[in-house]
């Protein structure tokens, strides 16, 4: 038998991108340690290569087409108007807008609040936050060995550093908007988001990736949430990239004792989307609510890999991932719940439910439990099915057209995930975005 190809070489062009990033960084006075970090990450990436479907974590997702594509680095270009790009524009929030991978202060709006520090990565590295940021970036986190996290570390150009002081409740939602306009075809955007939430603080964050149709871009984002004792964080990620786009995302959250984190991953866009998520319950009594909603069609592929890591006693996790598939769309869900040897009194729950609207849609789901402690309660489940014909018939008999009936029932199927979004304006905007999936 021929040797099995288990990894793919880093495309030649990427070295050129790194060189350009380094040159650009040196021109802008990037600190020395950052350049070293970029080199280190790129060397690691080159050593490990990109995975093929022979790798367990990439069993159902082939990234060859992504590696075959040619990408360019973001260029700063003035864009007169971005509002029309934002389908779910929300009032009364702090918005940081990034256009094609560059921070656009002219479009952003931000009202300072005491105890809240928000800086773009670029500014943060130059001003007083540089040291805190350096420490955060130097920390090793689960997922550092992922090739796309390495790629992000090597090439990241834009990003945000959010710090909330101890005991501060931030009143307005902070919305990070990454827009792809299509004006720079094949742009590779590598944002890095670092969030530091002090003990007892409370904050609502949203991170949106939105692309105009025709914008064949590649977004490779890494988001790190560091959540202090008793802190409360609501974080929503919305991915509505262009149908031609590639999207790779790694969200990593570490929670200290008695903190509560609510994460929502909403996916509707991109040709190929890979969402990695690691949630570590590091402090006793931490609580995690992890929800996912996806609606895909055409030849879209969305791949969720989540890990909920119960490391200490009395952790609670609730995970609900639901989605709708149409046409030849494919969904991969691999949800891992780990209970470490000392993590007694853990209460874990996970469910993945899929609704198939077409004959050729495919779901590969693997809800996975790894439990090394006896004093726990863990449950997981997965279902895959189609719409109940009787329900469609009932609605038709009441005079509702078949398409409308199917859309209504599909929306109802995922409604319980939307219902969990306590931030009402955000909930409404997500519902509106979902409506576009049903052609409204």
């Amino acid at each position: 038998m021929n040797a099995v190809v288990t990894r793919l070489a880093v495309p030649d062009g990427y070295a050129g991108l790194l060189a350009a990033v380094l040159r650009d960084g040196a021109g802008r006075g990037e600190p020395e340690w950052l350049a070293t970090r970029r080199h280190g990450a790129f060397d690691r990436l080159r050593a490990m290569g990109f995975p093929t479907t022979r790798a367990e974590d990439w069993k159902y997702t082939n990234i060859r087409s992504l590696l075959d594509a040619t990408f360019t680095l973001p260029r700063r270009e003035p864009v007169p108007e971005v509002k029309s790009l934002i389908p779910h524009h929300l009032e009364d929030e702090n918005e940081l807008i990034f256009v094609d991978g560059c921070y656009a202060p002219e479009h952003s709006r931000f009202e300072p609040e005491s105890g809240l520090h928000v800086v773009s990565l670029e500014d943060g590295l130059r001003n007083g936050d540089g040291e805190a940021l350096r420490q955060r970036l130097a920390e090793s986190l689960p997922g550092d060995d992922s090739p796309f996290v390495c790629l992000n570390a090597a090439l990241s150009g834009c990003g945000v550093y959010v710090r909330v002081d101890r005991g501060v409740t931030v009143s307005k939602r902070i919305h990070l908007l990454f827009l792809t306009t299509g004006l720079q075809p094949g742009v590779m955007v590598s944002p890095r988001v670092v969030v530091d939430v002090g003990a007892g603080a409370q904050v609502r964050l949203a991170q949106s990736h939105i692309g105009r149709s025709g914008a064949a871009a590649f977004t490779n984002v890494v988001t790190d949430l560091h959540v202090g004792d008793n802190a409360n964080v609501f974080y929503t990620k919305v991915q509505s990239e262009a149908p031609e786009a590639y999207h790779c995302s790694f969200v990593r959250s570490r929670q200290a004792a008695s903190s509560v984190v609510t994460l929502l991953d909403f996916t509707i866009g991109a040709k190929l989307a890979r969402n990695d998520l690691y949630a570590g319950l590091d402090g006793e009594g931490a609580e995690l609510h992890l929800d996912g909603l996806y609606a895909v069609r055409g030849r879209q592929l969305v791949d969720h890999h989540t890990t909920v890591d119960h490391r200490v006693p009395r952790g609670l996790s609730r995970q609900i991932y639901k989605g709708i598939l149409n046409d030849s769309a494919r969904v991969v869900f691999n949800g891992k719940v780990l209970v470490r040897p000392g993590a007694k009194l853990t209460d874990g729950y996970q469910i993945n439910q899929n609704l198939l609207l077409s004959r050729s849609a495919t779901v590969n789901t693997k809800p996975q439990l790894e439990i090394a402690n006896d004093d726990v309660k863990c449950t997981h489940g997965a279902t895959i099915g189609q719409i109940n014909e009787d329900q469609v018939f009932y609605l038709q008999s009441r005079g509702i057209a078949k398409d409308a009936a199917v859309a209504m029932l599909s929306r109802a199927f995922v409604e319980d995930v939307l219902f969990l979004v306590h931030d009402k304006p955000l909930q409404e905007s997500l519902r509106a975005l979902l409506a576009t999936y049903f052609g409204k």
């Binding site: 038998m1 367990e56 159902y60 040897p341 007694k344 899929n354 198939l356 609207l357 077409s358 004959r359 050729s360 849609a361 495919t362 779901v363 590969n364 789901t365 693997k366 809800p367 996975q368 439990l369 790894e370 439990i371 090394a372 402690n373 006896d374 004093d375 726990v376 309660k377 863990c378 449950t379 997981h380 489940g381 997965a382 279902t383 895959i384 099915g385 189609q386």
Partner: protein
């Protein structure tokens, strides 16, 4: 029993060694060994070809390590690939020619082979190390046209049947251990149920590893023709030894139109001592093909022994309306490791499968369920229900669930549920307050937990399985 045997010895009453003269070949594996095995068994040439093909493929492969188990490297050259109790004549005329020691061994294991014991209502094929030593009730079965004999005998007497079905479900290059088995398998059972025949009694094979430094590589092939049905049970034990012994078997089931095959296993190989020394590596490939319409294959397994269990009894649901079932109880204690589950491959229309898996992990053991449910695009109207529950007894054990669900047809309905928890303290307290001691209470609760599986076993084996579990838990609880 020697003094050195510890508490495991109390719970493993099958750990004795029988002193029989054995016909054993040199350690090691090469083409000459394979030719020797083949000639000792007077096999038809196609079988030797099959063995050599498998061996040559195996040589090029790397031992797989993806399972959630750990074990030191296996030295395949340190194994004797053939061991038979002497005076095993080329063909046994009757059981009276079998070494009385061997017969006594089976008596002691509770498997009576003597003709006078045929009232027990189960036909048994007894495999001692590498060969089958006797098959009971052959005449009764022959009247119905049923062939139930050792694999070697089948290869000599029914070569056409063997040639057409051998490797049709588990090809020689299916996986590393199946290839090894295909190269060196020594014996096993062969069952052929002709068209329209319902087998009048349960068929059973009892596998016994006796000799040291051997491996057991048996091969079972069961064919149920149109409308036939059969219930087959296998059991197994081995002496207690400090070395690890490899058991790499292959089981192939074929069910044609309207046929039913029910395959039950009560596995009690020696699991090693309480520190994980010794024990059997149970690396087995079991697969059934529902080839015909309305056919049904049902696996029931009670896995209570072996240092490492690594197997996935599977069903390929090819025929329309065919049914696959998998019921499993896997109990691990001391340092045992189990990575077991099933695969249900839905190809035909309206195919249905049910998976019920109960894992019980005690002490420092590691118990994993790994399963695959694949609904291919052509499997219109397929249905699967899976339930995988794990129970943890002790805070150093591990219970894992790795269910792979691949659905490529929207008319499929697939459900998977899994829970992991410890024994309910309230339930234990309730039973204890009613006067049961802790051990009895745990045993009762575990039995209740496994009931869904036990009730699918043939009656005698169901009783046996309950007793086996109680015995295992005795040393783990309290």
């Amino acid at each position: 029993m020697p003094d050195t045997m510890t508490s495991t010895a109390d719970s493993y009453k099958y750990g004795f060694v029988t002193a029989v003269e054995a016909d054993t070949i040199q350690k090691g594996l090469n083409e000459d060994v394979i030719r020797l095995i083949s000639s000792k068994k007077q096999e038809p040439p196609f079988l030797l070809e099959f063995r050599l093909k498998a061996y040559r493929w195996w040589l090029e492969q790397v031992e797989p390590r993806w399972a959630h188990v750990t074990f030191p490297p296996i030295d395949y050259q340190a194994i004797r690939y053939f061991s038979a109790p002497k005076p095993a004549k080329p063909k046994l005329g009757s059981l009276s020619e079998v070494d009385p020691e061997v017969l006594a061994t089976f008596e002691r294991l509770g498997i009576p082979l003597g003709e006078q014991k045929r009232l027990s209502g189960v036909a048994v094929d007894a495999v001692f190390d590498s060969v089958s030593v006797g098959t009971t009730h052959k005449e009764v079965l022959a009247k119905h046209g049923i062939v139930f004999c050792s694999f070697s005998e089948a290869a000599r007497e029914h070569p056409a049947l063997v040639e057409s079905y051998l490797g049709s479900v588990v090809p020689f290059n299916d996986n590393y251990f199946a290839a090894l088995n295909s190269a060196v398998f020594t014996d096993g059972s062969f069952v052929f149920i002709p068209k329209g025949v319902k087998c009048p009694m349960d068929l059973s094979t009892y596998f016994r590893i006796n000799a040291a430094e051997t491996g057991q590589f048996e091969r079972t092939l069961i064919i149920a023709e149109e409308g036939a049905s059969v219930s087959y049970v296998e059991g197994c034990t081995a002496p207690m030894r400090d070395e690890n012994q490899l058991h790499a078997a292959v089981v192939e089931l074929i069910a044609l139109d309207d046929a039913t095959v029910k395959y039950s296993t009560v596995q009690n190989w020696y699991p090693g001592d309480q520190d994980g020394k010794g024990g059997i590596y149970n690396f087995v490939t079991k697969r059934g093909r529902c080839a015909g319409r309305n056919s049904k294959i049902s696996w029931t397994q009670v896995e209570a022994g072996a240092a490492i269990t690594w197997k996935y009894p599977s069903v390929i649901l090819k025929g329309d309306n065919s049914v696959g079932e998998f019921y499993s109880v896997a109990l691990t204690n001391h340092c045992m490791q189990a990575d077991t589950g099933t695969k249900m491959i839905h190809l035909g229309r309206n195919t249905r499968s049910t998976i019920v898996s109960k894992g019980i992990a005690c002490e420092r053991s590691r118990n994993s369920y790994r399963g695959l449910v694949r609904i291919t695009p052509g499997a219109e109207g397929a249905r699967n229900y899976s339930q995988c529950d794990s129970m943890l007894v002790g805070d150093a054990c591990e219970a894992n669930t790795f269910p792979y669900i691949e659905v490529g047809n929207n008319t499929a309905v697939v459900e998977h549920e899994a829970t992991t928890s410890k024994i309910s303290a309230e339930q234990l307290f309730y039973l204890q307050s009613r006067g049961l001691d802790k051990e009895a209470a745990v045993s009762l609760l575990v039995n209740g937990f496994c009931k869904d599986v036990f009730k699918t076993l043939p009656l005698e084996f169901s009783v046996e399985a309950v007793r086996l579990l109680e015995m295992k838990l005795e040393s783990s609880v309290g």
